[in-house]
């Protein structure tokens, strides 16, 4: 009996993990018209981690890194070919130019901290 309960609990846990991490995404925060858009790098995450921006318009982000782990020291926009060093505690502006419509991911150098810019037409 206990085996059955543990097995069912295990299957449910696996489904939950897969659903939460792979099949759902954080709610996008609509960017205010004011730029730069502030992003805090803290406790292993970008806050906010999903930002909606209008496609075709220049986007400027301002990262403030409060996370001392070296993982957080760079931010990369892989598909845009942009990267920037994030000094600890000092705001760093990253200008991206007009974004093509679609989702543009930004990550730390190791791809662990993840954020998304959703450029919608």
């Amino acid at each position: 009996m206990s085996e059955l309960i543990v097995t069912i609990a295990g299957i449910l846990a696996i489904m939950l993990i897969a659903r939460w991490f792979w099949f759902s995404a954080p709610q996008a925060t609509r960017a205010e018209s004011r730029q730069p858009i502030d992003i805090l790098v803290q406790d292993g995450a970008y806050l906010p981690a999903a930002i909606e921006v209008p496609a075709g318009q220049a986007v400027t982000l301002r990262f403030t890194r409060r996370d001392a782990t070296p993982c957080a020291e760079k931010v990369l926009f892989g598909d845009l070919g942009v990267s920037a060093d994030l000094p600890l505690g000092k705001p760093q502006t990253v200008s991206l130019g007009p974004l093509p419509a679609g989702t543009h991911e930004f990550t730390c150098q190791m791809g662990m901290y993840r954020g998304r810019l959703i450029a919608s037409p």
């Binding site: 206990s2 085996e3 543990v6 097995t7 295990g10 846990a13 696996i14 993990i17 897969a18 939460w20 991490f21 792979w22 759902s24 995404a25 954080p26 004011r34 803290q42 406790d43 292993g44 995450a45 970008y46 806050l47 981690a49 999903a50 001392a68 782990t69 070296p70 993982c71 760079k74 990369l76 892989g78 070919g81 942009v82 990267s83 920037a84 060093d85 000094p87 600890l88 505690g89 000092k90 705001p91 502006t93 990550t107 150098q109 190791m110 791809g111 662990m112 901290y113 993840r114 954020g115």
Partner: protein
């Protein structure tokens, strides 16, 4: 404060242009402030006057905003290093505390492990005390795991923190449960994991500290480049030489540099001369002699004389600043080889969570007694052994060191792909002029047909060339000037790319160009044909001159081969590369130059617009081609090649134009770039291989795959130690690249 100097403040809380006014007004109202301007774009304020920064900060605070003194850019490194050092020390303290508790937990369990009996008081109070101590470990040494895991979880993200937090949390919860209600658990399963919690936390935090230490060293190259900037400059204002902060130097300022001093910004010498050590930018060890009209670069060192120069580029526009930016940018880029690891890293952590659940269920359902305990051990071991960091770090660490290493040798690599591609090249195409040769041709002979004087031919050629920008034109004009010939203006000047030039000089139609140019216009050059061939075989370029449709003579120009071209070409060949020379020059001259430096394959008489086609032809033959040129007329070929190398000389280098820029004019840079690229890619492969093998062996072993065969199950403490060391190993391996000598 007696001296008036601008104070740079960083201002937080500015939301609109209105805020700018408020802050400016507040600052200007202070006694002693002579000027204050607030920059909304970068949230900063520049204040001049005789007032203490603290008073300014207080005034801004009173106006409802926050200000602090902005740190000068050159101090960035120091500030960052201090913050990192503080973090490193904190991590060490956290680690020692956790390991201290671990030692205690192991000591408590030791008698039982040896089959002895514990004193009654220890049995009664030992576990509750350890429950509290390990809670303290998690709260003091490891809260970052839990906070990080929670924040990423809310963002549907999973990181290393998630694995550690779930592992530690499950182990602690289980241990508390078996301690407080052992009767609920089957006999023999009620074993707490206090030692595991403390050891894993302590080792993982220690690993992070060691990793941080090792990482600091991987970015040394950029720190060294930033460190080249002097903090002050000596500016001549109103006839007085005064020392000012670097930020206060403006374009067109006149600066004085004394022997042994660093040059502050980029500029042009207007008085005096000196030898200047540019090795920090170009990798070129020999100091260069510079005099009035020559360019100097910020960050380089004035060796002997004193001189005045006019600033042409300051702040972020200097060559040094642009190099630092470019190196930083390239260090963040990833070559294609690392992208697979990225994709895996994105799926890695949730997959490990799932494996841990599967391991738990399988051990619980099918494992030997005590099942629950085995299931916990396997699941926790899986969680703590998995190391996404090693996987994620494998590429960026090596790229960081590799790009930095290249910069130390005066090689600027634009992006990760160029770094990777350079190592794969099978053929290198060298542009002749300015790449293999010095690019400063000189007239070596003037030969005339009967009836023409040497000086008359040279005068007509030079007069016509005054309108041309071709490198050979300069040689002809210089030769005429050195013979004190008076040049006449040219009218209706026209250049035919790859052929020659024509126009009217003193009412006569003059045509100067290669043999083909003459042939195309039906001009008979037979009279000096043999002499022209002889000149070409001596690596001299014959230029034919015709006046009013009649052949008049030859002006021969030679461009000496750079002294180190031969050695560099030998080095390229020893790296297994096919070396090809490409030039617009005539075949005989090109062959003569090529033979002199040991190049077997030559594309001669190639028009500028056809250079990229030649590169494409080579690529079609299956070669992976690197094109080396001076970045001006070679631009299409540089862009076409798999890797374009722009060869510059010092400061006037076209930094923006190619995949790889060689700051020194030497071809050795190409061989060095390829060698560094190969070493970096090899290092990335070692790291990736190590990280993949580590995870793909470690996780199944932790899950208990060896148990059915050898009765072996991994202790989570060993798993934690392995995980802590794996990323340190990757970073240290990347650090080895620092010792690479191309």
């Amino acid at each position: 404060m007696n001296q008036s100097r601008p104070i740079h403040l960083a201002v937080d809380g500015l939301r609109c242009a209105g805020c700018v006014n408020t802050v400016e007004t507040a600052l200007r109202a202070l006694p002693g402030v002579t000027a204050a301007s607030v920059n909304f774009a970068d949230r900063s304020a520049m204040v001049s006057g005789t007032v203490e920064p603290a008073a300014l900060i207080a005034a801004v605070a009173k106006a409802g905003y926050q200000a602090r003194e902005a740190i000068d850019e050159t101090d960035d490194g120091g500030q960052q290093a201090a913050a990192e050092q503080a973090h490193y020390r904190t991590l060490l303290h956290k680690s020692w505390f956790a390991l201290g508790v671990a030692a205690l937990a192991l000591a408590v369990g030791f008698p039982a492990m040896l089959g002895g009996t514990m004193p009654h008081w220890l049995m009664q109070w030992g576990s509750p005390a350890l429950a509290l101590l390990t809670l303290a470990v998690m709260l003091y040494s490891g809260p970052q795991f839990f906070v990080g895991a929670w924040k990423s979880l809310r963002n549907h993200n999973a990181t290393m923190d998630t694995l550690i937090a779930v592992g530690l949390g499950a182990a602690w919860g289980y241990s508390v449960a078996v301690t407080s209600a052992p009767q609920w658990f089957p006999a023999g399963t009620a074993e707490p994991f206090w030692d595991v919690i403390a050891v894993v936390t302590g080792l993982v935090v220690l690993g992070q500290a060691l990793e941080m230490r090792a990482r600091g060293r991987t970015s040394e190259a950029v720190k060294r480049l930033i460190g080249l900037k002097p903090k002050t400059a000596r500016v001549v204002r109103d006839g007085q030489e005064i020392d000012v902060a670097l930020a206060e130097v403006h374009v067109d300022d006149i600066l004085r540099v004394r022997p042994g001093e660093k040059i502050a910004v980029d500029g042009v010498i207007i008085d005096g001369h000196s030898s200047i050590d540019e090795s920090m930018l170009t990798g070129e060890p020999m100091p260069l002699e510079k005099t009035v009209g020559d360019e100097v670069a910020g960050g380089t060192i004035n060796k002997s004389g004193s001189f005045l120069f006019r600033a042409t580029r300051v702040g972020r526009d200097t060559a040094l600043s642009r190099i630092v930016d470019m190196v930083k940018q390239a260090q963040g880029a990833k070559p294609a080889i690392g992208r697979l690891a990225d994709v895996i890293a994105a799926y890695f952590v949730p997959t490990v969570l799932i494996i841990a659940v599967v391991a738990f269920v399988v051990w619980f359902d099918f494992g030997p007694a005590p099942r629950l305990n085995f299931a916990m051990v396997a699941a926790v071991a899986v969680l703590v052994i998995a190391c996404p960091c090693a996987l994620g770090l494998a590429t960026p660490m090596s790229v960081m060191v590799g790009v930095g290493k290249a910069a130390e040798h005066g090689i600027l690599i634009r992006n990760g792909d160029a770094l990777q591609q350079a190592g794969k090249l099978t053929a290198v195409v060298l542009d002749k002029t300015g790449t293999v040769t010095q690019g400063r041709p000189a007239v070596t002979a003037v030969v005339t047909v009967p009836g023409w004087e040497e000086n008359a031919v040279l005068k007509l050629a030079a007069s016509l060339e005054t309108g041309s920008e071709h490198p050979l034109a300069e040689a002809v004009i210089d030769a005429a000037r050195s013979r004190a010939l008076e040049l006449a203006p040219a009218e209706g000047f026209q250049a035919v790319a790859g052929h020659g030039v024509h126009g009217s000089v003193e009412g006569r139609h003059v045509r100067l160009g290669n043999y083909k140019f003459m042939q195309d216009h039906g001009i008979d050059c037979e009279a000096l044909q043999a002499r022209a061939e002889q000149l070409a075989q001596q690596a001299e370029t014959p230029m034919f001159l015709a006046v009013d449709g009649k052949f008049a003579g030859i002006v021969a120009v030679a461009d000496p081969v750079k002294p180190d071209s031969q050695a560099a070409i030998d080095k390229l060949k020893s790296l297994g590369l096919k070396v090809v020379m490409l030039t617009g020059d005539n075949t005989a001259t090109a062959n003569a130059v090529a033979a002199g430096v040991g190049i077997a394959e030559v594309f001669a008489e190639v028009l500028p617009q056809d250079k990229d086609r030649k590169v494409a032809e080579l690529m079609a033959r299956g070669e992976i081609v690197g094109m080396v040129g001076d970045g001006i007329n070679d631009a299409p070929a540089l862009a076409r090649a798999d890797v374009g190398f722009a060869i510059g000389t010092g400061t006037d280098v076209a930094i923006e134009s190619a995949d790889i820029t060689l700051m020194s004019g030497s071809l050795h840079g190409v061989a060095n770039a390829i060698a560094i690229s190969r070493a970096t890619v090899r290092n990335i492969k070692q790291n990736l291989f190590g990280a993949f093998i580590y995870n793909s062996l470690g996780i199944p072993i932790a899950a208990g795959l060896l148990y059915p065969l050898f009765g072996m199950l991994l202790n989570p403490m060993i798993a934690g130690a392995a995980m802590a060391m794996s990323s340190v190993t990757v970073v240290s391996n990347a650090g080895r690249l620092r010792w690479f000598r191309p």
